[in-house]
Amino acid sequence: MNTNDFLHRLPGATHAFQRPVGWFERVYLDFWMLMILFIIMGSGLFVLYSAAGESLQDVQRQGMRFLFALAVMFGIAQVEPRNLRRWSPLFYIGGTILLLCVLLFGVGAKGAQRWIQIPVVGVRFQPSEIMKLAMPMMVAWFLSSQTLPPKWKHLFVSAVIITVPVLLIARQPDLGTSLLVAAAAIFVVLLAGLSWKLIGSFIALGIAALPALWYVMHDYQRQRVLTFLNPESDPLGSGWNIIQSKTAIGSGGIYGKGWLEGTQSQLEFLPERHTDFIIAVLAEEFGFVGVCVVLTLYMAVIGRGLFIALNAQDTYGRLVAGSITLTFFVYVFVNIGMVSGLLPVVGVPLPLVSFGGTSSVTLLAGFGILMSIHTHRSLVRN
C-alpha cells in the first residue's frame, strides 16, 4: 500500500496533508498553462479564419476539435501520475501492435500507409500519434526504475524500446513522425543523465551516418532535401512551396499587411496555407511583430512546462514532463524552420494553430499529462 493511498483513506484527512490548492488545481488543471494554451488556440483560430479564405466553417470545425482535445486533456489530467506510470508499458505495447496493424492492413494515400480504420465506428486514426506520448512514457518508466545516470545495459534496452516503433513508423513511410517519436524518447534518455561524453560521441556518429541516410530515403524524401538545398532549381514544382512561403513571410515586413490583407495567402499563392504553412500567413499579415508574439506565447508554454518538470515529484514525472515540453518545442522549431526555409520540408504542423485534429488531440493529451503530474503533487514525497 502506497503512502498516498493510505492518506486518502483517512476520512477528511486529504486536505490536511495536501498543499493548499486553487479552484483549477482542484480539478487538476494548471491555470497558467491553460491560459497560455487558450490564447494560442484563440489566436490560431483568428489566423485560420484568414488562411482558410474567411471560412467560418473551417474555424468551427477546428473549434470543435479543440473542444474535444480539451476534453481529452481534462480526462488525462484526472489520472494520477503513478497510474500513468503503471500503464506506460501497456500504452507502449498496445501502440506497437497497432503500428504493426497499420503495416498489415492500414489505409492511406500517396503511397503511404498511416491510418487505421476502426471498422464499426468508422473513425480513422494514426497509431503513430499514440506513440508520440507512449514512447517517452515507456522509456521514462524503464529508466526511472533503474539507478541513474543510466548504465550501458539500460541504454541498450532503451535503444531497443526506441528502435522498434520508430522503424515501424519509418516503414509507413513517415520519416517526420518517426524522427519526432525518436526525439521524444531521446529527450528522456538525455534528461535521465546520459553522460556528455556519450552524447558527444552519438552526435559524431550521427553526423558520420548522414550519407548513409541518403540511401535509405525514398525518392520524394531525397527530392525534399534537394529542394531545401536549392529551391530555385525547380521553382514550379517542389520548390514552389518554399519560394512562396518565403515570399509571404518576407513581404510581411515588420508590421504585416494586415488581417485578411495578405496577398500571398488570400490570392492562393501560398500552398498548404491553413495547415503546415499557416505561420507564413501569420507572418505576412501580422509581420515580424506577430511572429514575435506567437514565439513568446510558445516560449511561455515551454517555460511553464519546464517549470512543471523541475517541480515534479518523482523521476518518472520529471522525465515525462521534460520530454513532452521539449518535443513541443521541436514541433515549433521544425515547423517555423521549415516554412522559413531553414529546414527541409517535413510534414510537421504548427502546434495548436495549424488546421487539423489529430495533432491537437495528441498535444493537449500531452499537456494533460503535464497537468496531472503538476496537480497531483502531495506534500509527502514518495
Binding site: T147, L148, P149, K151, F187, L190, L191, A192, G193, L236, G237, W240, Q244, K246, T247, A248, I249, G250, S251, G252, G253, I254, T263, Q264, L267, E268, F269, A283, G287, F288, V291, C292, L295, M299, I302, L306, A309, L310, T315, R318, L319, G322, L326, F329, F333, I336, G337, S340, G341, L342
Partner: protein
C-alpha cells in the same frame, strides 16, 4: 561512483536532471534566437526583395494582341479575314482525376491513339500551377457541343476562343497574299518581340509577310491582379491594342478567278497590270496550294507532298519564275533599233530563213523554214520574223541592247512592294565576264535579239514592260497594295525609274501599231484570238525554247519529253487607246504562244473589259467552295 550501488540516489538524480534541464533550456533559447534572426533576415533585411516578388506574383502584365488587319480586293471583297477558332484548354490542378478527364475526352471526341498521347503529353507537361495547357485547337461545332454536354465529367476543361486567319479564296490568292502561320523562335528574332507577346501567328510569305508590321498592329498592355490560379480579379491598368491596318489591294478577285480558270490544267503564270496605276489586277501562278492549311498547322505528309511535287505548287512563278521572254520583247528591240538609228520604219531585209555571222558557218534560223521573204519592220513584228531581229541585234550589239532593256525593267526588280520578286537576267558583256568568266560572243547577241539565250524575265517583268509600252514610256512601278487603311500609296516614289522619253514619239505608235496587227491583221501570229473581239488588243506572242536544238535538228513536239517542250507566251495590253490592262501569260511546256497563250490572254482581257452585269463570278466561286 560505485557500480555496486543498489539504492537510487534521489538527490543525485535530481541534480543531474536540473543540470540537463538547464542545458536544454539554453539550447531552446538559442534556437528561438535562430528563428527570430531568420525572421529578421526575411522580414526586415530582405523585405524589399520579397515585396517585389509578392507583387510580381499577383500583378501580371498581360499582352492584349491586336486584331490583324484585313486584306480586301479593289472592290472591297474580303481576301483575308479573321475567324473565331475554339481551343480546348485544360488546367490540371482543377481536375480531380486527370487521366479520367483525358479518357472521357478521347471517348467523346473519338480520338485516335496518336492524338491521345499528344493530348496526354500536353496535359502533363511542366507548367506553373493553375496555368492552362492547350490540348486541341480548332474545335468544330460538333466537338464543342459534345464537350459542353459532357461538361460535368470534365473538370478543369475549358473552351477558349481566339481569332485566326482565314483566306476565303484559298488557293486562288495563295501566291499573292502568302499566308500566316505559327510564330517560330526564328521569326521573333526579326521583329520587335514585345509586340508579339500575345500573338500566335505571323506572316510567312507574300503580302502577309511584306506588310507584317502594318497588318499586325500594336500590342495592348493590361496590368491585372490574379490569384494563383491565374484567374483575373481586377484590372489595375490598361492600354488598348491598336488593331492592324487593313490593306486594299489593286487585285480584282473576279479577274483573278477568270485568270485561274483560263490557266487551269496548265503550269504557268499570269500577271495583269493596270497601266495607269501599276496596280496588279491579277497575279496567278498554277498549280497553287491552300494557304489555310498553314494557318491551322499543316501535317508533315501534306507538307512534304507540297514541297517535293515536281509541279512546284509552292513556287510563285508570276514573280519568281525566270523564263526566256522570247518574241514578246521584239517590240522593244524594234524601239531600240529605231532610237539608235540602226533601222528606220522602212528598213527591210530579204529573209532566206536563216542568218549567218560573218566568218561563221553556223546558221541562225528563223522559226519558219524557208523564211518570210521580204520583211520590213512592221511585218517582222507581225509574223514574228527572227531573221530580221538577228540582223537588228547584230547591228545594235549587246552594249546598246543591255542599257536600253534595263530602262524597261528587264534585269531589275522594279516592283514597289514585291521585294521577293526575281530580277530576272538581262545579260551584258560585264555580267558574262563576272558570272561566266568568259568573253561575250557575237552569236550570243543574236539569241538575245529574239529574247532567248541568257535573257531571263519573270511574268511580272514582261507585264510591266507591256504596261510601260501602253503608257508610252511613263513609269509607274507595279504594286499589289493600293491603300493602307485609308491612305493611298502614291503613284510616283523616290525609287521609280525615270520615264522613257524617245527622240521621236511616233516610234511608240510604230511598234504599238505592229502589235495591234499581230492580233488583228490577217497574217498576225495571234490573229485567232481576235475573233469576235469588240476592242483593240496590242500584243505579241512568244515561244520560248526550253532545250536548245542542235544545228540541223528540227523541233518536233511529239518527240520531245513534256518537260522539254517549249513555253508558250503572250504579252500585250488593251484597249489600244486608253489602255486599261496590260498582261503577260506564260504557259510552261505547252508549245506555241499563238496556240496556247494567246487564247488564255483573250479570256483574261474579256473578263476585265467586258463588264458583265451578272453577280461577280469570283463570289460564286467562294460560295461554291464553302
Amino acid at each position: 561512483m560505485s557500480e555496486k550501488r543498489t539504492f537510487k540516489n534521489l538527490d543525485l538524480e535530481f541534480r543531474l536532471f536540473k543540470e540537463r534541464m538547464f542545458v536544454a533550456f539554453a539550447i531552446v533559447i538559442v534556437l528561438i534566437f535562430v528563428l527570430i534572426s531568420r525572421m529578421v533576415y526575411l522580414q526586415v533585411y530582405q523585405h524589399d526583395i520579397y515585396t517585389t516578388k509578392s507583387d510580381k506574383n499577383r500583378m501580371h502584365v498581360r499582352a492584349i494582341p491586336p486584331t490583324r488587319g484585313l486584306i480586301l480586293d479593289r472592290k472591297g471583297r474580303m481576301l483575308a479575314e479573321n475567324l473565331p477558332s475554339y481551343n480546348l484548354m485544360f488546367v490540371r490542378e482543377q481536375a480531380k482525376d486527370i487521366q479520367g478527364v483525358l479518357d472521357v475526352l478521347a471517348e467523346i471526341l473519338e480520338l485516335d491513339k496518336k492524338q491521345k498521347t499528344d493530348m496526354a503529353e500536353q496535359a502533363y507537361s511542366q507548367r506553373r500551377p493553375f496555368h492552362s495547357a492547350l490540348l486541341l485547337s480548332q474545335l468544330n461545332e460538333k466537338q464543342i457541343a459534345k464537350i459542353s454536354v459532357n461538361r460535368y465529367r470534365l473538370s478543369g476543361v475549358e473552351i477558349e476562343a481566339q481569332l485566326i486567319r482565314h483566306y476565303p479564296y484559298g488557293p486562288m490568292t495563295a501566291h499573292v497574299l502568302g499566308y500566316v502561320s505559327r510564330i517560330s523562335e526564328k521569326d521573333l528574332t526579326n521583329v520587335d518581340r514585345s509586340q508579339y507577346a500575345g500573338t500566335y501567328y505571323i506572316g510567312k510569305s507574300g503580302i502577309e509577310r511584306q506588310y507584317e508590321e502594318t497588318l499586325h498592329g500594336r500590342v495592348g498592355v493590361q496590368t491585372v491582379e490574379t490569384n494563383a490560379r491565374g484567374r483575373i480579379l481586377s484590372v489595375l491598368d490598361e492600354t488598348l491594342p491598336q488593331p492592324g491596318e487593313s490593306l486594299t489591294l489593286h487585285l480584282d478577285a473576279d479577274l483573278q478567278y477568270a485568270a485561274i480558270r483560263a490557266l487551269s490544267g496548265f503550269r504557268g503564270a499570269i500577271v495583269a497590270i493596270e497601266p495607269s496605276t501599276g496596280g496588279i489586277l491579277a497575279m496567278v501562278s498554277t498549280p497553287s496550294f491552300d494557304p489555310n492549311l498553314f494557318v491551322s498547322g499543316i501535317d508533315s505528309k501534306t507538307y512534304r507532298q507540297l514541297i517535293t511535287s515536281r509541279d512546284l505548287p509552292m513556287f510563285n512563278r508570276s514573280i519568281r519564275g525566270n523564263y526566256p521572254p522570247a518574241s514578246t520583247i521584239k517590240a522593244f528591240m524594234a524601239l531600240a533599233g529605231l532610237e539608235a538609228g540602226v533601222i528606220n520604219r522602212n528598213t527591210s531585209i530579204e529573209d532566206p530563213g536563216w542568218f549567218q555571222l560573218p566568218n561563221d558557218k553556223r546558221f541562225y534560223r528563223n522559226w519558219k523554214r524557208g523564211g518570210h521573204g521580204t520583211v520590213n519592220l512592221n511585218r517582222a513584228i507581225v509574223v514574228s520574223n527572227d531573221t530580221y531581229f538577228y540582223h537588228l541585234a547584230f547591228n545594235l550589239g549587246i552594249d546598246r541592247i543591255h542599257p536600253f532593256m534595263e530602262r524597261f525593267g528587264f534585269g531589275v526588280n522594279t516592283s514597289l512592294d514585291l521585294p521577293q520578286a526575281s530580277a530576272g537576267l538581262m545579260p551584258s558583256r560585264e555580267w558574262k565576264k563576272g558570272a561566266r568568266k568568259s568573253p561575250w560572243f557575237p552569236g550570243e547577241t543574236l539569241s538575245v535579239g529574239i529574247g532567248q539565250g541568257y535573257w531571263q524575265a519573270t511574268p511580272l517583268q514582261i507585264a510591266t514592260s507591256m504596261a510601260l509600252l501602253a503608257n508610252r514610256g511613263k513609269w509607274v512601278q507595279p504594286r499589289i497594295v493600293k491603300q493602307v487603311g485609308d491612305e493611298d500609296i502614291p503613284l510616283k516614289q523616290d525609287g521609280t525609274p525615270d520615264d522613257i522619253v524617245l527622240s521621236d514619239p511616233t516610234h511608240w505608235d510604230q511598234v504599238i501599231q505592229a502589235m495591234v496587227d499581230v492580233v488583228h491583221s490577217r497574217h498576225g501570229t495571234a490573229r485567232k484570238m481576235s475573233r469576235g473581239v469588240d476592242y483593240i488588243i496590242a500584243g505579241k506572242t512568244g515561244t520560248a525554247q526550253v532545250k536548245s536544238i542542235k544545228q540541223g535538228e528540227v523541233y518536233d513536239e511529239n518527240k520531245i519529253a513534256e518537260r522539254y517542250r517549249d513555253h508558250a507566251l503572250f504579252a500585250g495590253f488593251a484597249p489600244r487607246d486608253n489602255p486599261k490592262i496590260a498582261l503577260a501569260v506564260v504557259v510552261e511546256n505547252s508549245g506555241g504562244g499563238s496556240s496556247t497563250a494567246a487564247p488564255i490572254a483573250r479570256m483574261v482581257f474579256d473578263a476585265y473589259l467586258k463588264k458583265t452585269d451578272e453577280k461577280s463570278s469570283s463570289e460564286k466561286a467562294v460560295k461554291g467552295s464553302q
